[in-house]
């Protein structure tokens, strides 16, 4: 296997592992904030208890998120030294600012986790969460601008190999930034809510049918619905962005070869690689035109108008479909749950519905993974679209393969232990004995 490919796999593995923790890291502060707000607003201690229990588990995932995030920061230079040497001249500003945002978040998270009974009013403890949520949101924002820059680099000119006319802010606020940042944030809020909903539904299915769990499920499903819809709206805008700035990614995602108006959206199917014919796919007439241009008659550039060496791997069609499919399923599921709650309260605790909600947690996280695989593989062969390919940037150090083995073992171990430790924590600290307590002792 060539070195560049090994470097890609290792970096992909790190990113794929880190994104699970990073997603929760971005989403959880908002969830905690909403739970604590509900507790104060409804004068209901159970919401505060919910926040407290979530925060306990969160302290585990944050730890793994911090260390894997450190790995990403260093691996960027270790595996793609050529990238930072050139791109670092233009895009190091947001990377640098990301550490400040994270610093800010870490300080207030430390304060939040250790001051449950320090303040006289719960409101003060809630206020500590605001910088945590802002810090984690800003972290996600800064780091996503770097990824956006890799897709639509701007803010510099190359003169005989030298980089000149550098404009760091223009590089940060490149055309991909708005949709990418919005998609990352909304999907993180959505996924965190659905993951917690899944755990809650699991407890309810196992017979824990008290008000605490019901409140938790209602809260998380409602938050999930709001952000699932927001994610879909941003996804639609991302389609228009891709059509305008990265047409090859959209075309490859849709197996769209002929440039034409009234283009159909293809779901699933198989591709005949010799004739580029698509079979067995579900055709949604004119929908690709709508996704790309907001008009059913819009013209969508096909792969045939793009030099073949710049085609992304065509397999990304499946990653795209899986991401969108899961997103749509989650909107439907959470909408059904919220509708039942309003109009058919008896169905709210239906076993089948709860079962699907349990499934929805891992599915949402998978959608995040599929989305990132789609985004990253869809940029191939470029690391810096139009300027530098991944192979040009990758390291020439021959030991990438053994490092790949080393990190695979570490991630497997950490993944298993995270689950093990969280399950153990939940088992050892059942919520039921705490529910009667009217006071704030634990």
């Amino acid at each position: 296997m060539e070195l560049a490919l090994q470097s890609r796999i290792l970096f992909g593995l790190t990113l794929g592992f880190h994104i699970i923790y990073a997603t929760i890291g971005v989403g959880m502060p908002l969830l905690l904030l909403l739970a604590e707000t509900m507790g104060i607003w409804k004068k209901d201690y159970q919401y505060r208890l919910l926040a407290k229990r979530l925060a306990k588990g969160y302290s585990i995932t944050v730890a793994v998120g911090v260390v894997t995030g450190t790995i990403i920061g260093l691996q960027l230079s270790l595996l793609f030294p050529g990238f930072m040497r050139i791109a670092g001249q233009v895009i190091s500003l947001p990377l640098f600012m990301e550490t400040f945002a994270f610093f800010f978040e870490a300080i207030f998270l430390g304060i939040y986790l250790y001051t449950w009974s320090r303040f006289k009013k719960p409101l003060f403890h809630l206020l500590v969460l605001i910088p945590v949520a802002i810090g984690s949101g800003l972290s996600a924002f800064f780091i996503t601008t770097v990824n956006a820059f890799m897709n639509t680099p701007q803010g510099f000119t190359i003169d005989n190999g030298a980089i000149t006319n550098i404009e760091p802010l223009k590089a940060m606020f490149n055309p991909a930034t708005p949709t990418k940042v919005a998609h990352v944030l909304t999907s993180a809020y959505m996924t965190t809510a659905f993951v917690i909903a899944a755990i809650t539904a699991w407890f309810i299915l196992r017979g824990h049918r008290n008000e605490y769990y019901k409140k938790a499920l209602r809260l998380t499903m409602a938050i999930g619905l709001v952000f699932a819809v927001a994610t879909a709206v941003v996804g639609d805008l991302s389609g228009k962005f891709l059509a305008a700035y990265q047409p090859e990614k959209l075309a490859a995602a849709e197996w769209h070869f002929e440039t034409k108006t009234h283009a159909d959206l293809l779901v699933g199917g198989t591709l005949d690689r010799t004739t580029n014919e698509v079979n067995y796919a579900l055709k949604l007439p004119n929908m690709l035109s709508f996704l790309a241009t907001d008009s059913f008659q819009g013209k969508v550039v096909g792969l045939n108008d793009i030099p073949k060496e710049n085609w992304p791997p065509l397999i990304i069609h499946y990653w795209f479909d899986l991401m969108v499919g899961i997103g749509s399923f989650m909107i439907a599921l959470s909408a059904v749950f919220v509708a039942c709650r309003i109009w058919k309260p008896k169905l709210e605790w239906n076993r089948w519905l709860l079962g699907l909600i349990v499934l929805g947690g891992p599915l949402s996280m998978l959608a995040i993974e599929f989305g990132w695989v789609f985004a990253e593989v869809g940029r191939q062969p470029w690391i810096l679209r139009g300027y530098m390919t991944v192979s040009e940037a990758a390291t020439t150090e021959p030991h990438v393969g053994s490092m790949l083995v080393l990190f695979s073992v570490i991630y497997a171990l950490l993944g298993i232990l995270t689950v093990f430790v969280l399950v153990r924590m939940a088992r050892r600290n059942p919520v039921e004995p705490l529910l009667d307590a009217r006071s704030e002792q634990t």
Binding site: S59, I60, V62, A63, V64, V66, V67, T68, G69, T70, I71, G73, L74, S77, L78, P81, M84, R85, I86, G88, Q89, V90, S92, L93, L95, F96, M97, T99, F102, F103, F104, A106, I107, F108, L109, G110, I111, L113, Y114, T115, R118, P131, I166, E167, P168, L169, T395, T396, E397, H399, S402, M403, L406, I410, L414, L417, T418, V421, R424, M425
Partner: protein, 338 residues
């Protein structure tokens, strides 16, 4: 001051900050495990846990800040060190990962697990050893450049007396910095038993830091005479460092003013670190990367400095709040607030 001078000074200060807070953290992990196996765990662990719990993540950020900053200000360093140090840096990352996650697993998940605690403690000794080798490598002779591609010469590093002298210095420094801080903290916590144990450890590690520094000087004289000569030119910093050390030692012996004692230890390391860094320039990697030629473009440098100032305006009050709530809050330190 030139932009590159300003940049490297900021980064050097942050690296110093990391060395102090991380030493406290690494040493604390080591001693909490030591206390556990020798049965003195109860006393020391309470003190250590109260300090560490709210601040451990902040420690890690200092490190990330340093390497993101150095690659930002001096992109060439990322290229040279990045290519050459894939294997050693990956190993250091794995250690850091084990430490961070097992701290959380052990602290929040399963406080009784011997294995988690051991991994957390052992990595605290191995990480400073492995990080300190990066400073060794920067002295030159461990990275060769063939056809413009940097290669790491692992054998040279392993058989170099200089490299081992630095590792030794790193280890005793970690233990000295952390025990002197914890002595102060135990004293604040009104925990005389813990204080007396920690004070003995601090005394035990005090002279070895000076001994190890002398070893490093001698080994560097052999390894990189040019840098050694430059160190001698900056000897005022090392004389100052020794004076601060003597003051710290005096206060430890007479059991007085532990706060000033720890400040003296911090100044001991600050002056030595500053003198070392000053003498190290202009090279960031001897003799390939100089900070004059590897600095990023002036536009980006300006933005980075501006971002730094903005970041500090935000961070300094936040750090101050964190310290007020935990480290310098008498009630919290004494365990009266949860």
């Amino acid at each position: 001051m030139t932009t590159e001078g300003l940049g490297i000074s900021i980064l050097w200060l942050f690296l110093y900050g990391y060395i102090i807070v991380a030493s406290i953290d690494f040493g604390a992990g080591f001693f909490s495990y030591y206390g556990r196996i020798t049965g003195k765990g109860e006393i020391i662990n309470k003190v250590i846990s109260r300090y560490l719990s709210p601040v451990w993540e902040v420690t890690n950020v200092f490190l990330v800040f340093f390497f993101v900053g150095i690659v930002g200000f001096f992109p060439e360093t990322g290229y040279y060190y990045g290519t050459a140090l894939l294997v050693p840096a990956s190993i250091a990352l794995v250690l850091l990962t084990i430490r961070g996650s097992f701290y959380a697993f052990s602290k929040y998940g399963n406080p009784n697990s011997h294995l988690y605690h051991f991994l957390y403690a052992a990595t605290g000794v191995l990480i400073p050893a492995s990080f300190s080798t990066v400073l060794t490598i920067s002295e030159g002779g461990f990275i060769a450049v063939e056809d413009g591609v940097p290669r790491f010469l692992a054998g040279n590093l392993f058989y170099s007396p200089y490299s081992w002298a630095v590792v030794f210095l790193a280890l005793v420094s970690v233990l000295f910095i952390s025990t002197s801080f914890l002595t102060y903290y135990a004293n604040r916590a009104d925990d005389p038993q813990a204080e007396s144990v920690l004070r003995q450890w601090a005394l035990f590690n005090s002279l070895p830091t000076i001994f190890a520094s002398l070893l490093v000087f001698m080994a560097l004289w052999k390894h990189n005479p040019e840098h050694f000569a430059s160190l001698m030119g900056n000897s005022i910093w090392f004389i100052l460092s020794f004076a601060f050390f003597l003051n710290a030692l005096r206060l430890l012996i007479v059991k007085r003013s532990y706060g000033w004692m720890f400040i003296s230890v911090m100044l001991q390391f600050f002056t030595a670190f500053w003198g070392y860094g000053k003498a190290h320039l202009p090279y960031l990697l001897y003799p390939y990367v100089s900070f004059h030629t590897s600095v990023t473009n002036p536009t980006m440098a300006k933005f980075l400095v501006a971002a730094f100032i903005g970041g500090m305006v935000l961070l300094i009050p936040s750090l101050f709040l964190l310290m007020r709530l935990f480290i310098f809050n008498a009630k919290y330190v004494k365990g009266k607030l949860s």
